[in-house]
């Protein structure tokens, strides 16, 4: 009986050995770029190599019929376990369509190591995008622009999966690589096609999606090109109710060269918002502006 109990205890204890892994046996991947090239997947992997007690980020590319196959090959080549728990960024391009999205989503959902909170972005040149800047620079670029200017959108893998499942549009920040890497509006995936949204229109999309944090608005004074009305939108809320889009703005006037009254400022801002929002919604738009400061002639 004692031997049996000992055997059971030992068996239970040995089950833990399955998940045992030493840190130096891991290849930590922090960003992946995926594209399709002649029926084959081409993957760019940003991994961290530790040499002489220093961590160096390295880009490796490989081709294969599936993402699984490529990562398995990589694991054999590097003789280490591919570790995706700290994946922070996924970059795709216009070669990724319905079928590819499904395969990507299936790969990540079936991999129990990965989380779904990493950012997804679009780039015209995946390799250059990952080589030019490290993943944390790109992530911070997206985060900062999203929070400070509202000129981009932060899309995580969770959002992508949800939108694919709900058959809704997928909005991805566009990482344009020319001489440098910069954010240039959005790419929208819908009905197996990719479309552009220009940077100046992203704010209005964010209004529609209730994603506005803060941004600045400028208006050229009539009759004098050198004079401006500068507004800072401190807070903005939007709410979709049946056939109505209700918007509330809290506005601070930074510069009023045009000597406009509160009523005039309110009208100018409302008109601008209504015109631009019509591109994204057919609903009736109701706007309420709270202007800080007193400008009444």
């Amino acid at each position: 009986m004692k031997k049996l109990i000992l055997l059971i205890i030992l068996t239970i204890f040995l089950t833990g050995c399955d998940s045992y892994i030493e840190l130096n046996d891991l290849v930590v991947i922090n960003a992946i770029g995926i594209e399709k090239d002649n029926e084959l997947y081409k993957i760019y992997i940003s991994l961290v190599e530790t040499k002489n007690k220093e961590n160096i980020t390295k880009i490796i590319e490989d081709k294969g019929s599936s993402i699984n196959q490529i990562l398995d090959n990589l694991s054999l080549t590097l003789n280490k376990k591919i570790y995706l728990s700290h994946l922070e960024l996924l970059v795709v391009n216009n070669t990724i369509k319905d079928k590819e999205w499904q395969e990507i989503v299936n790969f990540f959902l079936n991999n129990n190591e990965t989380r779904e909170d990493y950012l997804v972005a679009y780039s015209n040149d995946l390799k250059k995008a990952l080589e030019t800047k490290e993943f944390n620079y790109i992530n911070e670029l997206i985060e900062n622009n999203f929070h400070e200017t509202s000129k981009t959108i932060k899309t995580s893998m969770f959002d992508v999966i949800k939108n694919l499942y709900d058959k809704e549009k997928i909005y991805l920040p566009y990482l344009e690589v020319l001489e440098n890497l910069k954010l240039n509006g959005l790419k929208v995936y819908e009905d197996n096609t990719w479309k552009d949204i220009k940077e100046d229109k992203v704010i209005y999309l964010n209004y529609y999606l209730n994603n506005i944090k803060t941004y600045k608005y400028s208006y050229k004074c009539q009759g004098d090109d050198n004079k401006f009305l500068y507004l800072e939108i401190l807070k903005a809320y939007s709410k979709n109710i049946k056939n109505k889009l209700l918007i509330t703005n809290e506005i601070k006037v930074i510069n009023n060269d045009c000597n406009l009254t509160n009523t005039e400022i309110n009208k100018i801002f409302k008109d601008n918002l209504t015109t631009n929002l019509k591109e994204f919604t057919n609903k009736q738009i109701e706007i309420k502006n709270i202007i800080r400061g007193f400008y009444e002639n």
Partner: protein, 471 residues
């Protein structure tokens, strides 16, 4: 066989047994003492000098005469040979009158050191004196603080060969009677060859299966007195500089005697730090092992990469690395305790600095592991009880083993086991985790928090029937 011959035979003519025969007019007086434990000046001044005046004494009842004549209160009539032997071995000088009547006069030599500063339970404020190896001095240090006739003592003689004087001290009217009865029964049930120190008794009074001690030993008279005022009892053992406080609860190990001498909000902060240190001491190495071997996904990528780069050249798994370091630390600690203090600094420098630096340079141990084990070890030292420090060591080991096998799950498992063990432990009649569980909101005022003493108007109901303080 007369007494002297019997003594000589039984002691095998021990050289420190001194026999002296004095002939008076009609009587013969024999004096016996053991010179190694008696004070020769006391014998000369209070016995021999006085008897020398009685050369011509013609007294029929010399026993009663000497009993009243000799200038000491520590004189007693001895009934039989067994009593004689007992008194003789306790530092008495025996007067044998006409090989018939026996008298014992206490002439014990003072073999103890003076009252010194507490060595292990240091405090910033408050009294500095500590118990010594002398029973009466220790009792006196308490009586000096509690001047009340309700401070009562029950004395016992324990140990077949050592016949050690043991005293159960309590405050009548404050301590629960059933508690005193239980301790009394426990002490009476002890059958042992000898008691050399109070730590011997500890094993007989502490019958819990917990690794954590359910008794506290203190060398501080102020802490002992505070415990008595709370309704606890203390046990003084002759030849031991530490007294036993019982019952002791888990929370008592987070308290120090100078907690009651400082502002309450400062003490609350310190107690929280002690609790944090306790948790760090137990959990930090196991959390680190879990992170590096089973759950690297739960740390930020920068930390992961930092750990990874530090462990690059280390040839051992994290578990082996931790065990090696803990063993080295324990060796260092043990050597630091045993060797003379003059060499202690050299060992600390060699062991702590040179060895640590060399291990890291050689790539045997990672710097982060040294940080983890050192932080854990230093945190464990915040406890004032040696027993508590030792139990932390075992908890740490258990969690390290479980975490290296199961990762975080092992830590949960270990924590549940430790909590279950603590929950089932009893401190004499009461639950060891009181007032945490069973919870008592009133007693939280002096738990991990410390509210001003003015707000604590009642005593701990578990320890005392006399609940209102000051009555």
């Amino acid at each position: 066989m007369n007494y002297i011959e019997r003594l000589k035979k039984e002691s095998n003519n021990a050289t420190d047994y001194i026999y002296k025969k004095i002939k008076l007019k009609n009587n013969t007086l024999e004096i016996v003492n053991i010179e190694t434990i008696t004070s020769s000046s006391d014998i000369n001044n209070f016995i021999l000098k006085r008897i020398s005046y009685l050369d011509n004494l013609d007294e029929d009842n010399l026993k009663d005469f000497l009993y009243n004549y000799l200038p000491t209160t520590s004189i007693s009539k001895i009934k039989d040979y067994k009593d004689l032997k007992n008194k003789l071995l306790n530092g008495y000088t025996i007067l044998i009158i006409n090989n018939k009547d026996l008298l014992g006069i206490e002439t014990r030599r003072d073999l103890t050191r003076g009252i010194e500063k507490s060595e292990y339970e240091k405090t910033i404020v408050g009294s500095k004196d500590s118990f010594i190896e002398h029973f009466n001095t220790n009792l006196g240090l308490i009586r000096r603080r509690i001047k009340d006739t309700n401070l009562q003592i029950k004395t016992y003689e324990l140990g077949k060969y050592t016949k050690t004087k043991v005293g159960l001290v309590y405050l009548k009217g404050v301590s629960k009677e059933e508690l005193i009865k239980k301790i009394d029964t426990k002490i009476k049930d002890i059958n042992i060859d000898g008691i050399i120190d109070s730590n011997y008794l500890k094993q007989y009074l502490n019958n819990s299966n917990s690794l954590f001690p359910s008794l506290k030993l203190t060398e501080r008279p102020d802490l002992a007195s505070l415990s008595l005022l709370e309704g606890k009892a203390i046990i003084i053992v002759d030849n031991s500089p530490e007294v036993i406080i019982l019952p002791t609860f888990f929370i008592d190990f987070f308290h120090s005697s100078d907690d009651y001498y400082q502002k309450s909000f400062n003490i609350t902060f310190i107690r929280i730090i002690r609790l944090l240190a306790f948790l760090i001491a137990i959990f930090l190495p196991s959390i680190y092992i879990s992170l590096t071997t089973h759950n690297p996904d739960s740390m930020p990528i920068d930390l992961l990469l930092s750990f990874k780069s530090q462990r690059l050249l280390v040839p051992f798994p994290a578990f082996v690395e931790a065990i090696i370091l803990i063993i080295v630390f324990e060796i260092l600690r043990e050597s630091d305790v045993r060797i003379p203090s003059t060499m202690g600094t050299a060992v600390s420098i060699l062991g702590g600095l040179v060895l640590g630096e060399a291990c890291v340079s050689a790539g045997i141990i990672s710097p982060i592991m040294i940080i983890v084990i050192a932080t854990s070890a230093i945190s464990g030292m915040l406890m004032q009880s040696v027993e508590a420090i030792n139990s932390i060591r075992w908890y740490r080991f258990i969690l390290i083993i479980l975490s290296s096998i199961f990762g975080y799950f092992g830590i949960y498992l270990g924590t549940i086991l430790i909590l279950a063990n603590l929950c089932e432990t009893k401190a004499l009649n009461d639950w060891y985790l009181y007032p945490l569980t069973p919870i008592s909101l009133k007693e939280q005022k002096d738990g991990f928090l410390k509210l001003p003493s003015k707000s604590q108007k009642t005593r701990n109901p578990v320890l005392s029937t006399n609940k209102v303080r000051g009555r």
